[in-house]
Amino acid sequence: MSDQLTTDPSKPAQRMRAGSMTLTLGPWIVAAIALMVMPYIFTSNSALTIMNQMWITVVFALAYNMLLGQGGMLSFGHAVYMGLGGFFCMHLMNYIEDFGLAFPLPLLPLFGGLFGMGFAMIIGSFSTSGAGTRFAMISLGVGELIAACSVIIVAFFGGEEGISGDRTYGLPFFGVEFLKQIEVYYLISFWLMLSAVLMYLFSRTPVGRMANAVRDNPERAQFLGYSARWVRFYSFCASGFFCGIAGGLFAISYEILTEENLNATSSGVILLVTFLGGVGFFFGPIIGAIAFTLLQTVLSLQTELWAIYVGALFLATVMFFPGGLAGLMMMHVPALRLGKASGLVMPYIKTLIPGAIGVLGVCALIEMTFHFRHAAKGDHEMTLFWTTFDSHTVMPWLIAGIIAAVGLGVARATAPAMKEAWDEANTAGGAS
């Protein structure tokens, strides 16, 4: 326990200053405007679909980070709360359609959220009594149980084909029928902004601050008179609520929910997304969700092997940058404050660009190996980086190998200079 008493700037709790309930309006306004303008920049239908998916993942990842980043609870079955919220919304949607009730669609995610919270209250009542391994194992067990139930309890989960509905039922909402993708986009954006603001505010309430305290040192928090268990329980319920909202948005956007939305793979993906973005900062999961959705949609169009690259990226993040992408960005704040960030630009270019080229060379080798082994017999032609060549001749292998070796070699050679520049940029005062 002694290591937790020392001050460590890499620990999020000690970095984040306790603030008031007020919001710094700047970033939020920028985010809101960006959300409004995005459809005018990326007008195609597929771009809208990708953005919808992205924002839903953002809500989900933020909700997940309420547990992982802010509460220190690692959940391996969190897709359950999103999935259940979604399933409930779907049933509600069908129910309203059958009985012709007057119910505006934009309110639907709220009910998904309430259902998610209700379920989180049931599970949280026994799972939150401990953090760490015990909590992780219960979440895994519950996740597997619900995923298995989705095939058995056909009445609620619809078996293997899932349940589907139609969002354009009944009464239009102020003339909007949600027929078009763009209308759904704005609905999702609205809920994204609302939930993000609420989640941020939650992290600023006393409960949110206590969640940080309980994460870092539960014993000490209990000596101060707070029940660690109840603090965890509140975080868990709040997280369940926002997961349910994400589920409701998913139901509206895709109009179908299946077992896939509940299973262990989805739970794993959200852990990956959140950690990739960075658990130490509120905006980390947002970056993670955007980066991951882009990787998933863009990379999976280019190569069959995208999961290998994402997995390798994930492992590299855990090993070298446990702060994630957000942590990587925030590492540069001290240098910026000291006004020395400009000294970093050249070393970065010298090291990172050859490094990136080298990595691309390695990727090319991997792709060629894969093609060599698994392509249909006689199919020797492959296209990589806009060039078509024969994967069974020596030349491409040689070129890719040389590119990889040279790129990584240069990066390795210039790395000490970058380290030096980094140290220099983070040292206050004149030349040291």
Partner: protein, 318 residues
């Protein structure tokens, strides 16, 4: 009666197989305090390596060499991966092994493709050992039982009777003191990690021909192994054994006896509703035990965690 005996043997095979995985996992847990999510991935690697070796040199060489390779890989993961992540705390360690599990599965698909490998029982063991009331028991099952029991005995002997075992046990509980006495504790940890993963490799080698060698095999068994050591009590070798056998028998018996939920409910005096298809709980009424056999361990684990958080044989609160 005969059927019960057959099921007992089947459950024993499943249980002992689980035990080979959970023994290594529980050793690693008591050492590092971290559940190794990639443990089942090493089991899968064992099966694939053994398959590849058996193509060239035969099954028996594979049984010897594949676990060695897996053990060396495991030790490498500990040395160059986990030890590095260790400084960041437990949660990143857990996430690291999780990411490793994903990556290994992708790599296996990359190298061997998505199809099941033709990894078969060696001819010399491909006969019927004996039969019980018409149910034949393959010799390979008996072989599996013997291998697992042998490994358990060996492990128990090494851990409790030899000097190395004493040092390991001491290092598990008081690493600093053992280090002060002049032992290289990081090396011990690396060794235990290697042996644990090698055990998983052995399990993979002998289970591959029976359960199938395919990229999903780690996923199928992975979470059940955690369930096993959580039920048994984290860090307890005996607990792992008891829980493995328990889970093996529960799932085997649930699968072979078709007990319907409606029979149980009728038995305790609740009558079946008349129009079942309209009833809200119709799925509850039609559930049968083979259907829920695979989720029984999870139910058991959640119950154990609620009522006895330390597990059956666990000593300390995790």
């Amino acid at each position: 009666m005969e059927l019960i005996l057959v099921n007992v043997i089947d459950g024993l095979v499943t249980g002992l197989l689980l035990f080979m995985l959970s023994a290594g996992l529980t050793l690693i847990f008591s050492m590092m305090g971290v559940l190794n999510f990639a443990h089942a991935s090493f089991y899968m690697l064992g099966a694939y390596f053994a398959y590849q070796i058996s193509l060239a040199l035969g099954f028996w060489v594979g049984l010897l060499i594949a676990p060695l390779i897996v053990g060396v890989m495991g030790a490498g993961v500990e040395r160059y991966g986990l030890r590095r992540v260790h400084q960041y705390g437990h949660v990143p360690e857990l996430i690291f092994t999780f990411g490793l599990a994903l990556l290994i599965e992708e790599l296996v698909q990359f190298v061997w493709g998505k199809n099941q490998m033709a990894y078969d029982i060696p001819d010399i063991l491909n006969f019927t050992a004996f039969s019980i009331a018409g149910n034949s028991i393959p010799a390979y099952k008996i072989f599996m039982i013997f291998i697992s029991v042998g490994i358990f005995m060996g492990l128990l002997y090494v851990l409790t009777k030899t000097r190395v075992g004493m040092i390991i046990q001491a290092a598990l509980s008081y690493p600093r003191t053992v280090e002060a006495l002049g032992h290289n504790v990081p090396l011990i940890f690396m060794g235990v990690f290697g042996v644990g993963t090698a055990l998983a490799g052995v399990a993979g080698v002998i289970a591959g021909p029976v359960l199938g060698t395919f990229p999903g095999m780690a996923f199928v068994l992975g979470s059940i192994v955690f369930v096993t050591i959580v039920i048994g009590g984290l860090g307890s070798l005996w607990g792992a054994l008891v829980a493995s056998l328990l889970i093996g028998w529960i799932t085997t018996f649930a699968k072979s006896y078709n007990i319907a939920m409606s029979d149980i409910l009728n038995g305790i005096g609740i009558a079946t509703p008349e129009n079942l298809s309209d009833n809200m709980f119709r799925d509850l009424w039609t559930v049968t035990s083979p259907q829920i056999a695979d989720i029984l361990p999870y139910i058991l684990m959640v119950l154990i965690l609620i009522f006895r958080p330390a597990g059956l044989f666990g000593k300390r609160e995790s």
